[in-house]
Symmetry: D2
Subunit: 361 residues, 4 copies
């Protein structure tokens, strides 16, 4: 739709298509705009796309191009229509609490694998912020292979994350594992993560697609790139285009690393889809000593960001301690990543406020 299309214009297109037995899926990308009065970010719809499914001849007969508010009608043959680059040639920017993730920036997200205590979470958040990270990660719901492993603090963990955000000022991304928790989790955080084991939990994908918060969609450890984009399409179909894809390693026969980071996936996905792609160098390797080289590799392969585990005391971590960085590790990583980011002609993503100052200054 055109940038100035009204809601009524959109409704009119949908009604017409449905009248012929077709289906219409409306997706909106939302841009956070910094409001200097409130000091908070306001959401503004930046893109509206309507995906149509139905008989091609019938749809063509509708002459949609002539309708008010319609910018362009395009026939798309790939199975992942809404997230495809064929459908939306410019690469997208997704905003998380004012922090952009997209083609001009590299966004550093850091935080503890699992929220354990207020003290540990606050310490980790300060480590993240001090090193230049601009999004805080932290798990309150942990899907674990064994039912006897630590499953996360649940809503208590979300309250800790929320308090830490108020204290430290970083937007939060956290995993959601059940449809019934989606609205509750969304009320606490800035971005919802779909974990690797839930990449084909289609009802969960649809639920996060409907809730109106950006989504971080991790690749299933056994998912092809095609299946991953299809999973994103499930979210987009429910009206949410603010999706960031995260490559986190695939399952192979190699046992020296927990999973095998598929570094090629970054450029391959960016060719097929307009969505941003980041990498998780912590979970893919499962080893602290690999986080730095894999982060570097991700940035120069074109990744739009990184999400890494940090912990004030990795040896005491309740989850994935062997891969968590210390404060010093993270600062070294951040320095190295910043150098490479500049070399790639990009900048490290800051909060909108600082971006503004930067541009003004």
């Amino acid at each position: 739709m055109a940038p100035d299309a009204a809601a009524a214009d959109v409704d009119a297109v949908v009604a017409l298509v449905e009248s012929t037995g077709g289906e219409a899926f409306v997706s909106r990308g939302v841009t956070g705009v910094y409001d200097p009065v409130s000091g908070r970010e306001q959401a503004r719809v930046s893109r509206v796309v309507i995906g149509l499914v139905g008989d091609v001849d019938q749809l063509e007969a509708l002459n949609l191009q002539a309708m008010r508010g319609v910018a362009k009608v395009k026939r798309i043959s790939t199975q992942h229509k809404l997230v495809s680059r064929e459908h939306h040639p410019e690469r997208s920017v997704v905003h998380v609490g004012g922090v952009p993730i997209g083609p001009d920036t590299v966004t550093l997200m850091a935080g503890p694998c699992a929220v354990e205590t207020p003290t540990q979470t606050l310490a980790a958040a300060r480590m993240a912020k001090a090193a230049g990270a601009t999004v805080l990660r932290g798990g309150a719901f942990k899907p674990r292979t064994s039912p006897y492993a630590f499953q996360g603090l649940g809503e208590r963990g979300l309250r800790i994350l929320s308090d830490v955000r108020d204290e430290v000022g970083l937007p939060i991304v956290t995993e959601v594992v059940a449809v019934e928790d989606v609205a509750m989790v969304a009320s606490y955080v800035d971005m919802l993560q779909i974990g690797t084991r839930n990449m084909q939990n289609f009802s969960l994908l649809q639920a996060v697609g409907a809730v109106g918060k950006p989504v971080l969609l991790k690749r299933g450890m056994n998912a092809t790139i095609e299946e991953w984009l299809m999973a994103a399409e499930y979210i987009a179909q429910r009206g949410n285009l603010d999706i960031v894809l995260c490559e986190r390693g695939i399952r192979t026969f190699e046992t020296a690393t927990r999973n095998t980071l598929d570094i090629s996936a970054v450029p391959v996905v960016q060719r097929l889809s307009h969505l941003p792609v980041i990498i998780d160098p912590s979970h893919s390797g499962g080893r602290r000593d690999l986080v730095l080289p894999l982060s570097r590799a991700g940035v120069v392969a074109g990744a739009d960001g990184l999400i890494v585990d940090v912990h004030p005391q990795p040896d005491l971590a309740l989850c994935d301690g062997p891969q968590a960085l210390t404060a010093g590790d993270l600062q070294e990583l951040s320095r190295s990543v910043a150098e490479l980011t500049a070399l790639m002609g990009r900048r490290m993503a800051g909060h909108a406020r600082h971006e503004r100052r930067r541009l003004a200054g």
Copy 2:
């Protein structure tokens, strides 16, 4: 617990364990008992197992062995306690609407991949019954890689299945894909299926664990056997031991078949777990011509049953037509499987009614 343990005995054990900070998970296996008066099957609890998690020394100090109703206290070191053979040395029998699945029988389940119309479903069910199948499979909720593929008829499909059961007399197994649907789906069918993409959807596992119907747990196409048993443990922990495992092919580099049936998984799992294991020769290969040889292979490798796709008109199927058997194919398969079953010293599983007659006669 002892066979004659009362509910109060179970509660007493749980209360004592929890008083020390430990956790107690009560699981029950339910046997369907045919009631000649109502002509229906009544559920009877046949096994009660309480899994304990906590500090080993503290748990030992409780002297649980001395409590009323306690048959045996056993320390289990594997991570999948409740489903392990270490915990329950005899192989279990699970009953689905009066039909046993277990070590003495081979159970043939057949039906359409997807419920499309009442006519198609009834025709497929009659094909199944005529060939000797004793459980009807049929999908009403279809998790599909693409959001644009046929997703199943939903509750309408369940009503069709239910009507067909009344007409034909076969108990039904169907997939459930969302926590919020579990109770509704359970109200229509005899067994709930967890599909390959949801094997690590832990909230769904917990939901089917709590609803009191037998569960068919398909192996994730990328799941190790260890992870598969852990997924079963999630169900068992919520109190449900009536779990049947289904090997349906794993993802490998080979492209001649859709997935690679891991035939070794049958004996390997039977060594580790007391739960019954069946195979799905239709989805693993994805080719009609492989269904017969893989079914045979499954039976002689020790599988406790088979679940196969049939369709009255495979060419018109909305889902997985290339692998669906015709009526003639299914009869040939059934004959061959029956011969091999006898050779293995087992019998084809029939409904309790007929079993009774068989034993009486």
Copy 3:
């Protein structure tokens, strides 16, 4: 070529094709015919096939069909021409020292993974024969991942095998790992084995293709079925169609078994190629307890034979002891396999001598 085609006829076809810039590959299948005078088997060429590569229009213009000795000219589009079923619709029989491997029989091959001493080899051979095996396997050259592991006895091992054959009367199959050894190894044994690590050692494939002994071609543990048939094509192209394919497990993410037996490969290959296919249940699983169920599965999936490890004292074996069967295990396996073989409408393969008596009797 026609059964009565003369060598000169074959040469004439080759000369004509080469004169136009094309290539011609002559392959022969050899049948062992029992000679009652010498008590030994004589080789007789049973099939001659000439594979042509070149410009299709030019080859058609040659009118080869009219040449003397030519039975049929056929255009083949698959990449594996000589071994394809398109090229040779009837399934082939390969004879190893008088023992058939083909569609009417199931051939049991057994023996020690590695030849260690004359005593151990003789004991294993007697175990094999007593249980009804009709081909003896035994390794003298062992390709091992580590250069510090036992590498086999080399030619000394071949002499032991040869002595044991004279003593026990079973033809021998053994692995060859180097081009320079092919002629020497072929002088001692009845069938040459190409191991999984050498499946794409193309110069070795060509060498065994030229030496005139039947070849057992194991599937590479990472090879697709397409690549496996291509490897067979390398052998066939050098003039040898007496190839038996052996499925021995592929590499997957599963760690409960050494490799994953791809049981589907048996019917899939039999559709694509006329060559016999056997399975190796010992190396695929790497566990003694899986040999019996996998052997059964192989037979009913249509395998033309089995090759299993036996050892008089598995605990002392220098190679793969954990998977070797004892004498009792092998007899149980043989009984079970014989029952299933009969059910499949086949017979256990015996030596030509006994076959003759059987047919005569």
Copy 4:
């Protein structure tokens, strides 16, 4: 051994060890030293290591430390002794015709996948040199999955390569596929390549280990890192420590790329082994558009070099055209790689002559 150990000292150690029933493997690293008189490089032995295998107690009783020329006796528990970092803590430098491959440099190797004609090879070599590559790659023996695909020009191709080297001045690496060709190939080129399909062709590994030229050992597409190092150990055991490892993608379920570049393998191997590691971004992805991002990723992950396909007319290439770079692509890659190399605190590897001038200037 100490740097000044004499041949007699080495022999004395070997003799003593063998006298106790142990085995001793002598390996030498050779450094090319530029001789200003001849204008050519002379080989000088730079490291001598003797690997011992045998009874640990007996070996300890020998008191080898006291023998003349012995620098250090060390007990090594890993299976890959000679190539392990435990055994040789400093990372090694391997010289190819005067060009170093090691921890201080990044070496760019480029050339055609297959040598087709003198003109094409010369054009590709000039493209390589113009862009700053310092080693020329080119295949004369091509192991192809299909026997009907172009197999390379053989010795004729080697003569072309040799002529091009004289013309352009770049040392050459080429693949060898058969034991019987090793000496002949080594007489033409500066470095021998073992391809992915031959990584476990142990007799070929031993042959190149004995011939005294540096070896480029590609990882098997299905080989674990452990198996890859074991393959290197086979070469080292025959006396050759001048081995460069090359990660070229592993086989996974993903089909968007030909293979999956295992970028983690670079730092993982460098931790376990002292040998240099390079990557092949052309064969791993199989797509031209991935060569640049994967090359960058390799350099910042710590790779010691790159080997890439170039072709003057990729559309006409007889082998792997879709992945070959054009002249412009290669120059862009070279500029980008040089920037990243500097950032990593390394330099692009030049020929010894130029290195000398650089150091002198």
